[in-house]
């Protein structure tokens, strides 16, 4: 491989340097029908799952075909998206905030050929490249984090469990049979780069073993005071440890106080937590971000732990599928999963979803815990 220079000169890094120019401006990339009607849209309609029409005051219409996709995406696939955009959409395309791909048309006649084309494209392995769906009262793409593909702190993978879950929920990606939209999210550790804490159903990676201590290297790899300060429960203190007759500076961890957040590991790589038996998945449910009818709310922990089961995470996907099916059957129209659980009562939620309730699900973390205990005689048998 011969090195190809971009023009950058490492001896003179400031020469011709361009900085602080920000992103490309959004309107360079607007399809003409969007540019023309921006701010003047009248209404929209979902014609069928994955297909929308937006109608402007001018009478113009834009038809959108929404497709799911793995957010982990190769340049090959992006080039294919560009090719489809050229073929049908004058070279324009967009992504949604939930990693869906949207092809926009200003001509209804192109709609069916585009959909047919999208449906026909499959990977060699057999899965769809561009499944059409993800609209309305159904399940759309899962937003997620890096997982084992690229992150240093995960307690589970992201792309794998997402693929496994979407395979199981696929029917609801292409149907709009649910009482309301249902958002599934995944974060591979509680740093929650994916901020899954307000999702109808959240899949969260969690560690369950306190950090191991690499005493011999700890003082060399870390700033010990930062590691100590990083602990939210003050479980870490400085310690002198004897190794091979030598006293070294290190830390001691009060394991009973550890909540396995991994914040110490973020500050100090000599304190790894990851463990095959210890790590796994927490299922949370009932959160939302929309202000519709009820205020936004946090997801609640409904399953404290499921072990990692690569490659298909079967127990995890079964719990999720069950929750979705019970919700679909039992909730009222417009009721989000969390609103439904609150209406029927969480005691009924666990019963209907056949999820065992364990002591782990009762909050004992600081003040907010108190507000989650039942302070009324109103409950159901």
């Amino acid at each position: 491989m011969a090195f190809i220079s971009s023009g950058y000169d490492p001896k003179e890094p400031m020469k011709n340097r361009i900085t602080d120019i920000g992103p490309r401006k959004y309107d360079e990339f607007y399809p003409p029908v969007i540019a023309k009607n921006k701010g003047k849209w009248l209404y929209h309609e979902i014609l069928k799952p994955g297909v929308l029409v937006h109608v402007a005051e001018s009478g113009d219409k834009v038809f959108t075909v929404r497709c799911g996709g793995a957010r982990l995406m190769s340049t090959l696939l992006i080039r294919e998206i560009a090719e489809i955009a050229d073929k049908y959409c004058s070279g324009y395309v967009r992504w949604t905030t939930r990693n869906n791909i949207e092809f926009m048309l200003d001509d209804e006649k192109k709609l069916e050929p585009l959909i047919k084309d999208l449906k026909s494209r499959k990977f060699k392995g057999g899965s769809f490249k561009f499944p059409v769906g993800g609209t309305g009262a159904g399940i759309t793409n899962i937003v997620h984090t890096q997982g084992w593909v690229h992150c240093h702190t995960p307690a589970t993978d992201a792309s794998g469990p997402v693929k496994a879950t979407m395979d199981v929920l696929f029917e609801d990606f292409q149907k709009m049979r649910l009482p309301a939209q249902l958002r599934v999210s995944l974060a591979c550790c509680l740093n929650m780069c994916g901020a899954v804490h307000c999702s109808d159903i959240a899949i969260l990676g969690y560690h369950r073993k306190p950090p191991m201590l690499d005493h011999e290297y700890l003082d060399k790899m870390c700033e010990i005071p930062l590691a100590i300060a990083a602990c939210p429960t003050a479980a870490i203190k400085p310690a002198k440890i004897e190794i091979g007759g030598q006293k070294v500076n290190s830390v001691a961890v009060n394991n009973d106080r550890c909540m396995f957040c991994g914040n110490c590991y973020t500050m100090c790589p000599a304190m790894p937590l990851a463990d095959k038996q210890g790590d796994g998945i927490v299922i949370m449910a009932g959160g939302k971000v929309s202000n519709r009818i009820s205020p936004p709310k946090f997801s609640k922990v409904v399953v404290a732990f499921i072990e990692n089961e690569p490659p298909r995470w079967t127990k995890t996907t079964q719990v999720i599928k069950k929750m979705v099916d019970v919700y679909a059957q039992d909730a009222r129209k417009y009721e989000r999963l969390g609103d439904w659980a609150e209406r029927i009562g969480w005691e009924r939620f666990f019963e209907k979803c056949e999820i065992p309730f364990t002591h782990h699900l009762i909050d004992d973390f600081r003040d907010p815990a108190y507000y989650t205990w039942r302070q009324t005689t109103q409950f159901k048998f």
């Binding site: 090195f3 190809i4 971009s6 023009g7 950058y8 490492p10 340097r17 361009i18 900085t19 401006k25 990339f29 969007i34 921006k38 009248l42 929209h44 979902i46 799952p49 799911g68 793995a70 957010r71 982990l72 995406m73 190769s74 340049t75 090959l76 696939l77 560009a82 050229d86 324009y92 395309v93 967009r94 992504w95 905030t97 791909i101 392995g125 899965s127 769809f128 490249k129 561009f130 009262a137 084992w148 690229h150 240093h152 792309s159 794998g160 693929k163 496994a164 709009m176 974060a187 994916g194 901020a195 307000c198 957040c261 914040n263 038996q277 202000n291 009818i293 009820s294 936004p296 417009y334």
Partner: protein
């Protein structure tokens, strides 16, 4: 022939949902096939090694990526995340596997040409693996080597007129919803505001000067499609303060069943005949709607703009015309002290270029947080530690019942000396004249 056997990953090729494994395998094959034609600047087998390493991770149940690694481009403290494999001898293709965050365009609109330009750059100088998009919104280039970082940055800025995004204790790449570009609910131009603030605060985005990360997100309406209320230190959520516009004829269209409820979102199931009383009026959280004969009436003053009725009948009801946004502050994910939702700081502010009024709020909040925030303390945690009253004080915003869900249930008010007549200095001897020991 694949470099590594991946029996577990292979099982993720079946099923209908797009398989990242198939996608990566095809890319690995493509790189091997084109290696004689393209001078790949990173190992040709990088994608094979990602697959091999991931397969091993599935077996071990533990990540194989090392912690951290300080790499970047000259003069920036963000935008590049260093990543090294902890088994470099077995998987040399991913020994270095750094991420670059590329600032995405508003609304995530693209042209095919621009996408191809990105792909050309990333195929040559990186792994060809991306995230479209990362959690915060960036285009993510996943996996390149240290010597390529400056080269990629140079090409991005010189050829693509494109900058990196944020990482570390910086302003993170702001993101927006589709907004007025294609949504009738949007109460302001999310993309214009997001773009302007992103550019005005480039220094904050590239050079770490904050206690911790800081996120802006821009939602055009209270439906909150970019989850600003849950995911951003400062959420800008569109709203209005006049009347919902009603088209009575279209209301009757819904009542009569000619128009599909909720823009057709419920077409996958037979929910029976549309019932405006049950589905709209009785679900209104403030009870501010009623029918007078065939006319739908809304007492706008009592409406809290939850969007339900508008979502159900988009052709009959439209957002008001006196529009602006609300600012909510302090949302974050659970680490460390539990998750926080955004708290309302500014109930209503007009969205007018050059957005000076909005920037004034932002900068006052930053000044306070940069002065008082501890290392790795998010804004929401500082507000909790010093109190919501404090953020009102530093921003000069007048307290208002809209700031609380309910007033406090304890009387432990930290009165300030200047609030109490006569102050706190008293003469105990004078007191004792009338109150013997």
């Amino acid at each position: 022939m694949a470099k590594h056997k991946t029996p577990m990953l292979d099982q993720l090729e079946s099923g209908p949902w797009p398989s990242f494994v198939s996608d990566l395998k095809e890319l690995a094959e493509h790189r091997a096939k084109t290696a004689s034609k393209i001078e790949y600047q990173t190992p040709v087998d990088v994608v094979d090694d990602i697959l091999g390493l991931l397969e091993l991770t599935y077996k071990h149940g533990r990540t194989h990526w090392k912690h951290g690694g300080i790499v970047g481009v000259f003069g920036y403290g963000g935008g590049v995340i260093g990543r090294y494999c902890d088994m470099p001898d077995e998987f040399p293709g991913v020994a270095h596997f750094h991420t670059m965050r590329v600032s995405q365009p508003g609304g995530k609109f693209y042209t095919s040409k621009y996408l191809r330009d990105l792909c050309d750059l990333w195929d040559l100088r990186g792994s060809g693996v991306t995230n479209m998009h990362g959690s915060t919104g960036d285009i993510v280039f996943l996996g390149t080597t240290t010597p390529q970082l400056e080269e990629i940055f140079f090409e991005l800025t010189h050829k693509l007129n494109q900058d990196l995004g944020g990482s570390g204790s910086n302003l993170r790449t702001p993101s927006d919803c589709i907004g007025e570009a294609r949504c009738e609910y949007s109460c302001y131009d999310t993309q214009a505001l997001c773009f302007t603030l992103t550019n005005d605060y480039q220094d904050e985005l590239h050079r770490p000067a904050f206690p911790y990360k800081f996120k802006f997100k821009f939602d055009g309406c209270p439906n909150c499609c970019v989850a600003s209320i849950a995911r951003s230190d400062m959420a800008f959520i569109g709203t209005w303060r006049d009347d919902i516009r009603i088209d009575q004829e279209a209301v009757q269209g819904y009542v009569g069943g000619e128009l599909p409820a909720n823009g057709g979102a419920f077409k996958g199931r037979d929910w029976g005949k549309f019932d405006i009383k049950k589905e709209v009026i009785e679900l209104c959280p403030t009870g501010c709607m009623w029918m007078e004969g065939k006319k739908l009436k809304i007492d706008s003053k009592e409406c809290n703009r939850c969007m339900h009725c508008i979502n159900v009948m988009p052709r009959a009801l439209r957002i008001g015309e006196d529009r602006g946004l609300s600012i909510l502050v302090g949302a974050k994910a659970p680490i460390l002290d539990g998750a926080q939702m955004g708290s309302l700081l500014v109930p209503f502010i007009k969205v007018e270029e050059p957005y000076d009024e909005i920037k004034e709020v932002i900068e006052k909040v930053w000044d306070w947080w940069m002065e008082e925030g501890k290392n790795r303390e998010r804004l929401g945690e500082l507000i909790k530690r010093q109190g919501f009253q404090k953020i009102l004080e530093v921003t000069g915003i007048t307290p208002d019942p809209r700031h609380v869900k309910e007033p406090r249930a304890n009387p432990y008010i930290f009165w300030k000396e200047e609030e109490v007549e006569g102050g706190w200095t008293r003469d105990v001897n004078e007191f004792r004249k009338y109150h013997r020991r």
